[in-house]
Amino acid sequence: MKETNVHSLILEKTEKIEDDGLRSFINEILSFERSKLDREKYQYFKQYKKLITIHAPIGEQKYSSDE
């Protein structure tokens, strides 16, 4: 495993998430949290909001996970 990566144990499981948007969102927030792992306080709100806007099925996009 590369030192900067999210643990392979976690990645093996996120890869199994079928919905593309949800999988990408979770992988990206985990990478973000990984980069801040040794810090107690940091800004996360903007990053999360941005990632939700990118990956959540808003507008025309259909979101399939709860179907």
Binding site: L9, K13, T14, I29, R34, Y48, A56, I58, Y63, S65
Partner: protein, 655 residues
């Protein structure tokens, strides 16, 4: 080697190391073990301290010593301090070069000791510095802690850099917390927990942003907010209860410590007996919890089967009755209808080809016969199997219930004995001794309070469970209302997306915890059985509550009954298992790995440990007794470097 290794350590004027002392630890081909040998006090532990001081600004060995105040030594070498004037200070550093195939990172930390006018010393450490190699250039890295945390996170360093001799302390009281946090550490659960907390905060913000909308949705949202507020109050009260229990237990420990000061042999015997009973009581309580969980699981898995056993038996009887009456198997067989249809003529001579109605009738009959035949075969095979499964489940369930009763009886008996001990101690008046009677009365009061608090805690947890359901119901009602309004669509979709992300992450967390627990158990079993010097096999279990249980040929072996050596082997197996499954490629440095062990386990560890961690650089800091002829012979083919520490006149030389 694919894994990280320490290439060199350079120490300047740290503790008993005077001047600049370089120690080369680089691997040599497949040889991945370094041995640094020296007598007690020669400076082995301070080598481990130098590493942790450099990386984490802490000294592992001293921090775990109770009598550290007695061991105070300035950071800077004493001989060096003799060379400076009072009021001046001297500096030193520890420098560690790390990398995989070639040096890539150089971590340095400076320290200084001031020589005060009154002859005392004052220590200080500088910031961590990191130089990293980019192609051929070494450049300073602005935030060395971030890089270090990627290579070897602070939280898990104690599974790579540790003092073997102190490992037997690992299984002292409250060890399950240590085991749990160790497993959480290596599983990166913190990463998932943070993501969940942050999703929750962001979602709450999103939910609050809905105040700009009006109508029924707002009313529903207020109801939901109110339920959430109540849940928060209950959770705060649960935390308070837990804190009170912890405080009361601390007070209990203080009283026990005072009672232990009694010189009366009878009091001592009773205290010892109480300690033993309390230990067994804890184990029984945990057995009870586990048994209850097992019985609940049996019920969930096979409850339906057990409740329907009579119906299944009735169905089987019906089959048999129908067979006896010649109704089963069906008188008309499927192959016979097939032939009729193929021939196009009935046995009575009527033509079937032109009669659609008759054809349809035969087609239906064929399907029916197929279902009956298939159903009979399946039923006749499956039902007896289900009945026997139900019988087995019922027996397991009844066995479990009877085990619960037995355990509960044992618990009642232990509690009765504990009450007797307490009463006897409360009546104990001994002159010129600690006030046993008074202390015991206080103790009984506190125990009573703890019992009350535990009951409160149980009630509170029940209320929390109920309130969580209310919160969920109200939230759903609010979201349903929101969905009715077109303008809320985007918000509802975002919230629902976060809900799904939360569910996925929670599932991942559960899955990983289970997997890591299973892997830890697997490696613990393997390592412990290989390293322990007993011939009989042991089964090592890691329970859901993070208890470690060892089963030998004569049943469960209590952790408290293990010798110091056995506990050390167990802890070493645990540490090696964690190091193996952590996914981090950190080098291992173990101080006094074989300290409390006799010759056979020493040999076994020397023989097996290097094989388990064959891709990992291991540096053993050993006493001359540990590094015996046998051990040396076992390690010989894997040794990259071997050093001897010689301590003379307050200074250690490395040879």
């Amino acid at each position: 080697m694919n894994k990280l290794q320490i290439f060199h350590i350079k120490i300047k004027d740290y503790r008993q190391y005077k001047g600049t002392v370089p120690i080369d630890l680089m691997l040599a081909g497949d040889r991945h073990i370094n041995v640094i040998e020296g007598q007690n006090g020669a400076g082995k532990s301070n080598l481990l301290n130098a590493i942790t001081l450099c990386f984490y600004n802490e000294e592992t060995h001293l921090e775990t010593q109770e009598d550290q105040a007695l061991e105070y030594e300035p950071y800077v070498n004493k001989r060096r301090l003799e060379e400076i004037n009072e009021g001046d200070s001297a500096r030193g550093y520890v420098e560690i070069t790390l990398g995989k195939d070639e040096p890539k990172y150089i971590f340095t930390r400076e320290f200084s000791t001031a020589k005060r006018d009154d002859g005392t010393f004052g220590d200080a450490t500088g910031d961590l510095r990191l130089r990293q190699k980019f192609q051929q250039d070494w450049r300073d890295v602005p935030n060395p802690h971030t890089r270090l945390s990627e290579i070897l996170p602070t939280r898990i360093h104690e599974y790579f850099l540790f003092d073997g001799e102190q490992l037997d302390e690992f299984f002292n009281e409250k060890y399950t917390d240590r085991v749990e946090s160790a497993i959480l550490d290596v599983s990166h659960i913190e990463l998932l927990n943070r993501s969940l907390t942050h999703i929750d905060t962001v979602r709450t913000e999103f939910e609050r942003s809905s105040t700009e909308y009006d109508g029924e949705a707002i009313r529903r949202r207020d109801e939901y907010e109110e339920a959430k507020e109540r849940l928060e109050q209950l959770e705060a009260s649960e935390e308070e209860c837990e804190r009170d229990i912890e405080d009361a237990n601390d007070r209990l420990d203080e009283i026990d410590e005072k009672l232990a000061g009694s010189s009366d042999p009878e009091v001592q015997r009773k205290l010892e007996r109480r300690e033993n009973l309390n230990g067994r009581l804890d184990e029984k309580r945990s057995d009870l919890e586990q048994k209850r969980a097992e019985v609940a699981e049996y019920l969930v898995e096979s409850g339906t089967l057990i409740f329907n056993e009579n119906a299944l038996k009735f169905t089987l009887d019906q089959f048999e009755e129908m067979e006896d009456q010649g109704e089963l198997p069906p008188r008309i067989q499927g192959w016979f209808i097939d032939q009729l249809m193929e021939r196009g003529e009935c046995i009575c001579g009527a033509t079937l080809e032109d009669d659609i109605k008759k054809q349809e009738h035969l087609e239906e009959l064929r399907k029916e016969v197929a279902v009956i035949t298939e159903g009979t075969i399946e039923g006749k095979i499956e039902i007896p199997h289900l009945i026997s499964q139900a019988d087995e489940s019922l027996n397991s369930l009844l066995g479990g219930v009877s085990d619960i009763t037995l355990i509960q009886d044992e618990i009642d008996e232990f509690e009765r004995q504990l009450r007797d001990i307490s009463k006897e101690l409360e009546g104990k008046e001994i002159s010129e001794d600690v006030d046993v009677a008074q202390l015991e009365q206080q103790r009984s009061e506190i125990e009573k309070r703890i019992r009350q608090l535990r009951e409160d805690l149980g009630r509170r947890r029940g209320e929390i469970e109920q309130q969580e359901l209310t919160v969920n119901d109200r939230r759903e009602a609010w979201l349903d209302e929101m969905e009715k309004q077109e303008e809320n669509n985007v918000l509802v979709k975002k919230i629902s997306f976060m809900d799904d992300a939360e569910r996925e992450i929670e599932e991942i967390r559960e899955g990983i915890l289970k997997q890591v627990r299973n892997e830890t158990e697997e490696y613990l079993n393997l390592y412990f059985n290989d390293l322990i010097w007993k011939d009989e096999p042991y089964d090592v279990k890691l329970t859901d509550e993070y208890q470690i249980r060892i089963y030998g040929p004569t049943g469960q072996k209590k952790l408290g009954s293990l010798s110091a050596g056995e506990r050390q082997v167990l802890a070493l197996s645990f540490m090696s298992a964690l190091s193996k499954i952590s996914g981090f490629s950190a080098p291992l440095v173990i101080d006094t790995p074989l300290g409390r062990l006799s010759s056979r386990p020493k040999r076994l560890i020397a023989q097996n440990l290097p094989d388990y961690l064959e891709d990992t650089q291991i540096t053993f800091l050993m006493t001359d007794e540990e590094y015996s002829q046998d051990v040396r012979a076992m390690l010989d083919s894997s040794i990259a470097h071997e050093y001897h520490l010689k301590y003379e006149n307050d200074v250690t030389q490395v040879h």
